[in-house]
Symmetry: C2
Subunit: 349 residues, 2 copies
């Protein structure tokens, strides 16, 4: 008898409750599983063996108590926590999906996943003309990179010669946003919270960087952006946004991508400089990548794998080993401990 263990939601958590606790809010559930006897049928046409799964901070939001509204549906108690995964098709009732082929699907944090009939349309068979490593499809090509790409193109509307500032620049979104902006001819400024991260940002081509733990954003921005900021890729919200509002140029675009510093904060920072939005004709736009990616999918999968294959887009991974390491991985992501993109390797390729 093999197993199909999973990481499940055990208790909902309030948005203001701080970090979820392993064991109390979520944790490993051991589930025996007879792989050989498992059958696919019309209701569940595919059985997937999950290989690499993504660990993304937005999952915190889906763990919330359902009485709080949000842009994503809350998870049910006992439900396996879903996240973008690259998997191998091990059993198939549909000829279009061959056994042994690789697919991307929101199967999530478990060893094996039955795909229900009505989810079949979002099971994406990967094409891999550059023979990229499998983890690339939930890593350098995954949702945070899609967020960087779409945010930059759709909201940022970058023009060569402009200055972009990126907060949480070494994070999964920031590191890609910076390299993309650089490839478009922008002057790229970033911040992060450790010397190691700062060194990495220099390595991947940021023009100017600062450690926000050593220098206040209020001091660093005028110093590092002498021509002012044209685009701000906001991955943190809070006081940094307030400082940026005082340092942007006319017609600046603010890509409001996340507010990590506020997600787990019972007393969110209150913004004071928003009248600058009028005074400088600023546009601030929030977006949810899932809703925009259809607009950009074709150009994304045309441009990005090529950049990666040519070594023009460096990418850092934090690979957690085994399903059981995922809770630690999620907490690391939420607390900003990770360097690059957090993934878990659930099974061998």
């Amino acid at each position: 008898m093999s197993s199909n263990n999973g990481i499940i939601l055990k208790k909902h958590i309030d948005p203001v409750e701080g970090y979820p606790k392993v064991g109390e809010h979520f944790g490993l559930e051991e589930r025996p599983f007879n792989l050989e006897a498992a059958k696919v049928d019309e209701e569940h046409p595919l059985l997937l063996r999950n290989i690499y799964t993504s660990i993304d901070p937005y999952i915190r939001n889906r763990m919330r108590n359902p009485k709080h509204k949000s842009y994503l549906p809350p998870l049910d108690l006992g439900q396996v926590i879903p996240n973008l995964t690259i998997a191998e098709v091990v059993k198939s009732a549909v000829p279009e999906y061959k056994t042994g082929s690789h697919v991307i699907f929101m199967s999530g944090w478990e060893e094996y996943t039955f795909v229900p009939k009505d989810a079949m349309k979002v099971v994406q068979v990967i094409s891999n003309p550059y023979n990229l490593p499998l983890m690339t499809f939930v890593g350098a090509l995954g949702m945070p990179s899609q967020t960087a790409y779409v945010g930059l193109k759709h909201v940022g509307k970058p023009k060569a010669g402009e200055t972009i500032y990126i907060s949480a620049a070494s994070g999964a979104v920031g590191q890609v946003a910076g390299q993309l902006a650089k490839s478009m001819g922008l002057y790229v400024v970033g911040s992060a919270g450790s010397d190691e991260k700062i060194a990495y940002l220099k390595e991947i081509g940021y023009d100017a960087v600062f450690n926000y733990k050593n220098e206040s954003v209020h001091d660093a921005l005028p110093r590092l952006c002498p021509k002012g900021i044209d685009i701000y890729f906001d991955n943190v919200g809070g006081e940094t946004l307030d400082a940026v509002l005082l340092n942007v140029n006319f017609y600046a675009r603010i890509i409001f991508c996340g507010a990590i510093s506020q997600y787990n904060n019972p007393n969110p920072y209150r913004l004071k400089n928003y009248t600058e939005i009028v005074l400088k004709s600023i546009t601030i736009e929030g977006f949810i990548v899932m809703n925009l990616i259809p607009l950009y999918q074709e150009e994304y999968f045309r441009e990005m794998p090529k950049l990666i294959a040519e070594g023009k887009l460096k990418y850092k991974y934090d690979v957690y080993k085994g399903l059981g390491s995922i809770p630690e991985g999620l907490l690391g992501v939420l607390q900003g401990k990770n360097f690059g993109k957090a993934l878990a390797k659930i099974a061998d390729e």
Copy 2:
């Protein structure tokens, strides 16, 4: 000997200093003037007799101490305060501007204005095919209406059937924004601070209105906007914006036009719900009408005079009588005492 009295800036005022004081910061200066002897020449090709002048709140901003940056240049001490004015050409050194014709110009708060050579390109001779009253050109067709028009079209991108909420709805911008939105098939909700203003909003076609002094915006918005808010025309900023952020729909557009409640506030309200911008893919856009009006000028002057002539755009004026009444008018505007568009009649037509 005739006079050319003017309202001049006497002392700069800090942004946090509250309302400007008549006599201390600005006031009437008596200036004798020999109209008959006055000559136009190459340096000053036109002499204008000012008839109606606009009284706009943004002037407060230009009265600030020059050490504070803003989108508009500060005024010099002793300078006549400029504002959009309709005037008669009384002397002309250029054949294109005939004596007796009417022009719009930023001549400002004085009886007569010499137009310097390098300002000639912005002296606009009016065409008046519908024979509208002269005050219309600095009133219903003036900058606040241009603000309403441009904000609605450029930022709001309204679609029939959507819900728009307009704060300071009986103000110079709001009353036009509401009627334009109504003419485009939107459901129009507005707020104002007196029963008289509320009655006026109903009269000009608002679908739902509330007096924010009687009902909190937090209660009124869910009650009056059962389908949520798609567009918010923000004329006030502050706590109202925070309440709106909790009541907007996905992909809402916020036309960030002014923050009257914050202009004179030494302790500006600090926004707390801005993470909704991400959660609901909201766009907030500030704009300065002067920079956008060239994009819309032709369609504006094609559509608006017709709407006015047909009685489809009702417009309320507060006409202050005589140059000496302007300081009182400006304070009224800044303190929200005015009903509609504030103008001063400087001279007879």
